[in-house]
Symmetry: C2
Subunit: 326 residues, 2 copies
């Protein structure tokens, strides 16, 4: 049994708890939190401990799953805890990944632990789709589309506008752009060409909706570069129809082969997810298994999804995998 | 530079020749054939040698790509040549893969070479999609659909019917079955539910078309279990409209997450290929690079696509891959 522990108990931590609960080869040691443990009740009844006490559990945990945020938590938590545990995180600030990897590698290598960073679906499964696609079709190009899905950051940005009570923002890929990419013509697509943004907004009584809509669609970085649709709805409708946190997207690689490059090919990897955090947690849980297997073979340092043999992700034996899936 | 050689020069061998030609980190040593080398002209002008002389080139080849057939060639060729070379093949008789793997492993391990078997898209990329999908969504099920594409075996079967001059058979996935799978209901689907077969047939003058059609649609193993459409066309139309060898397909994994399994997810990997052999060759060429990298690190024996770290497939450095694709 692989002994897994969770560090941080938000939506992602809860998703890990559920995924580990259904993994026959894993057991959940517990949840570590910076809050008062007595205030937390876990979904499965897993024990809750204070994060202050985590070093007491050094010998009880095979893989520690770090469920903090990429902005402020993981840049310090991951390298620090890699001094004492095999760890895995979902660090997703793409531009800072090389620095994060180097920081984590230094402490993990020193302590002879294995740390896997940036697991999830993007970065994660979409990264793998980009790598496999580019290796197989070097004469080509890849495109990533996100959605339809909820963007938490964009929803928060709308909520900061004066008079807005609540909001939910969906990122939606543009069908005609997807079709153009699939046709193999390798188009140049701007930000506006690829995605539209749809907003469901609740405002207080008497608020000027035209002003709110104008502030949304012209907001720099968030909306100004996109075609944005704004719908004003009641809090009841928002709560009833827009409670979920779906997401998904597409990685499409097109490329040509043959001496005169006459033959075209389309490789497409897509996700359609009811729950973004639960799916992310499912990916991380599979990679927990790989961290365990790799560390058992003596591998140390910081690695990514690119460094993991697919065979290490499955609870089945190599023989079973080859017989049933190859 | 990775020195690659090709053993067998049919459609697959030609595809390897083109793919290696466009790989900046590879050079093609030559093509080995059982035919008289003087009768062969290669697409790129690569030298042609007799397969009888291959052992003379032991020190000149890093990876030898075996382009024979799975029925009679590869079961003997791969284990035999793994005594002298790092090899890669596209052995695709699914049921016999474990035996083939064991045979190749024995000779490759003895001679300290690395052999990768069953590279291509199915087995190959589709196998990887099945493994990743099952590891990530254990509470789920996967489905593989093939097509639209040409089945050489079924085309040949039609040509053996009396009075048939030529034929081309397409395997086509049933859209409604694809949609049902994507809906996440995990349907039980029979062979007939998943694919239809469409046949373009040229018959000699005066042949009874009704009899030919009846013989096709009732043919055991090949057509009897499917809904089959038969179109009689002229040789001119067949040559004009059905010369290509397209193929493709879908691997769809659906599964649920959460404590009460309330959230559903769909992971879909699909291929749309103008040329089946050229795409297969492109996959094999990427895995050639992995065979080389793994053998340079001292790995020996027989492996599959499941044993390959994705990072080993790319000509880019690990740092470049992480910075540009993670």
């Amino acid at each position: 049994m692989i002994r897994v522990a969770i560090y941080g108990y938000g939506n992602l931590g809860k998703g890990i708890e559920c995924a580990v609960n259904y993994a026959d080869d894993m057991t959940l040691v517990g949840v570590f939190t910076r809050r008062d443990p007595s205030t937390l009740t876990t979904l499965t009844g897993a024990p809750v401990y204070s994060s202050d006490d985590i070093l007491l559990y050094r010998d009880d945990i095979d893989v520690l799953v770090l469920c903090g945020g990429s902005a402020t938590d993981l840049p310090t938590t991951t390298p620090e805890l890699a001094k004492h545990f095999n760890v895995i995180d979902s660090f997703d600030t793409h531009a800072n990944i090389p620095t994060h990897l180097a920081n984590v590698d230094a402490t993990a290598r020193e302590s002879r632990h294995l740390a896997l960073i940036s697991a999830g679906w993007d970065p994660g499964m979409f990264s793998l789709a980009r790598l496999y696609g580019s290796a197989i079709l070097p004469n080509g190009r890849d495109y990533t589309f996100w959605g339809k899905g909820v963007s938490q950051g964009h929803s928060d940005a709308i909520r900061r506008i004066e008079g807005v009570l609540d909001a939910r923002q969906y990122t939606i890929p543009v069908d005609s752009a997807l079709d153009k990419v699939r046709s193999g013509v390798c188009p140049d697509l701007t930000t506006r060409d690829k995605h539209i943004r749809e907003c469901y907004v609740v405002v207080a009584d008497g608020v000027d909706k035209a002003r709110v809509e104008r502030e949304i669609v012209t907001m720099p970085n968030y909306f100004a570069d996109y075609d944005t649709m704004v719908h004003f709805v009641s809090q009841e409708v928002l709560d009833r129809d827009h409670k979920g946190i779906p997401h998904g997207g597409f990685v499409i690689r097109t490329g040509s082969t043959g001496l005169d490059k006459a033959n075209n090919h389309v490789v497409e990897y897509s996700l359609k997810l009811d729950s973004n955090p639960e799916f992310t947690a499912s990916v991380i849980t599979a990679f927990c298994r790989a961290v365990y297997n790799m560390h058992m073979r003596g591998e140390v340092g910081a690695v990514t999804v690119f460094d993991v043999r697919p065979v290490d992700l499955s609870p089945l034996s190599r023989e079973q995998i080859i017989a049933s899936m190859l």
